[in-house]
């Protein structure tokens, strides 16, 4: 296993990482190397959405992404969400609707919804479509009713 450096932009800051093993996943780089513990590890196999971050603005599973494959790319985690206009709307909608129960799935939902709102032009968005696109995010508390209300609110209030 070789281990060389990697340069990424994380939450708007360029970061040089030394000695990144080839098999290191972005999820582990964020949590253990950069101490950004807001991104959660759920199933670690692409089935739950808890580890969702934005890569160049797109919702992406950090558990299935090798850090060295992201050379030069931009990563936004839940810690960087308040810096994005859509991120602020989504966070506020989750708070207002009480869409957080144990909170473990929340960063994944917030990042996925932030990325979807940022990506889809307003005239092609609908609450139904957003909910369908959030099917990859699981909430084991099954607090989906409040999450669905937060999605509808974020859709109404999004820039």
């Amino acid at each position: 296993m070789s281990a060389v450096g990697a340069t990424l932009n994380v939450n708007g800051r360029p970061i040089s990482l030394a000695e990144v093993p080839d098999d290191e996943r972005l999820l582990d780089t964020l949590r253990w190397r950069l101490h950004l513990r807001g991104t959660k590890e759920g199933c670690r196999s692409g089935g739950c959405g808890a580890c969702t971050v934005l890569i160049d603005g797109r919702p992406t599973l950090s558990c299935l992404t090798l850090t060295r494959e992201l050379e030069g790319r931009g990563v936004t985690t839940i810690e960087g969400a308040p810096d994005l206009p859509a991120g602020r709307v989504v966070i506020s909608a989750f708070e207002t609707e009480g869409a957080v129960q144990c909170g473990y799935c929340t960063p994944g939902f917030v990042m996925a919804l932030t990325g979807l709102l940022g990506r889809t032009p307003p005239d092609r968005r609908s609450p139904e479509r957003l909910l369908r696109e959030l099917q990859g995010n699981l909430c084991r508390c099954t607090g989906y009713a409040a999450i669905a209300r937060a999605v509808e609110r974020a859709h109404r209030e999004a820039p």
């Binding site: 070789s2 599973l61 090798l66 494959e69 996925a112 979807l116 099917q135």
Partner: protein, 282 residues
Amino acid sequence: MGSFELVTPASEEEAIAWLARAPGGEAAVLAGGTDLLNDIEEHRITPRHLLSLRRLPWNRWNWIGPALEVGSTTPLVDLEYDPKVRAQFPGLVTAIEAVGSVALRSRATLGGNLGRSGSASDLIPLLLALDASAEIVGPKGVRTTPVDTLVVASRRPALGAGELIRSVRLPEPRPSAYLWQRIRPAQDVSHVGVAVAWSPADGRWRIAVGGVPPRAIRIHPEAAELPPRPSSPEREAAARRAAELLPLSTDLRATGEYRRHVVHALVLRAVGSVTAMREGSA
């Protein structure tokens, strides 16, 4: 996860030369990695090297006349969000939406799905119904092969030593539909997937079925013999023939008999839906 070394060639030639020299079984090709990395994590495979395609300019698509040529490392989500792709290949976009989740599809690629050749792939049946072909590069140059020939069985594409899938070509836009049956709508594996397309070029229908081991199959042409705008009894007859003619296997997801019932229902609906699309555009 077992350790491996990542190889990131900057050119196609370098990639082919490296892969052709790699000892058999020790190298795996990394496109998006959404399937491959799980197999490695679960120790189903233990490659010592992963050949990453990320630096190759294969992550975009071109329209060549009516045909769509999709670079093999194009993330599925890019195709899904493109209005023209959605309008010209509606069934393809539906099939893409059946793969994992949005956040998975930002990594997952068309070439990766084809290269892994999963028997439950949601994309392969649609590629068969569109008569898609793959452009393959290797030590002996470039060749083009129908997807039908490339897909042999799960994890076993018909690729020679040092060969890579460079792009996938969809020859003509076709009214098309993809319908699946699963236990849960999201994040599940289809135990049956039915793709239906109608070709404006030859006026004939294509029907393919996925979710069935060992690989997705094109339905017998006899079952797909239908007029351009089939009546309800004609659709029913085609669905019955399709279900009867298919060799459907039993595995841990479903029995062959159950799959037969589902194929009948889904072919009926999918032909109906493509017929409606054609009437809408007439």
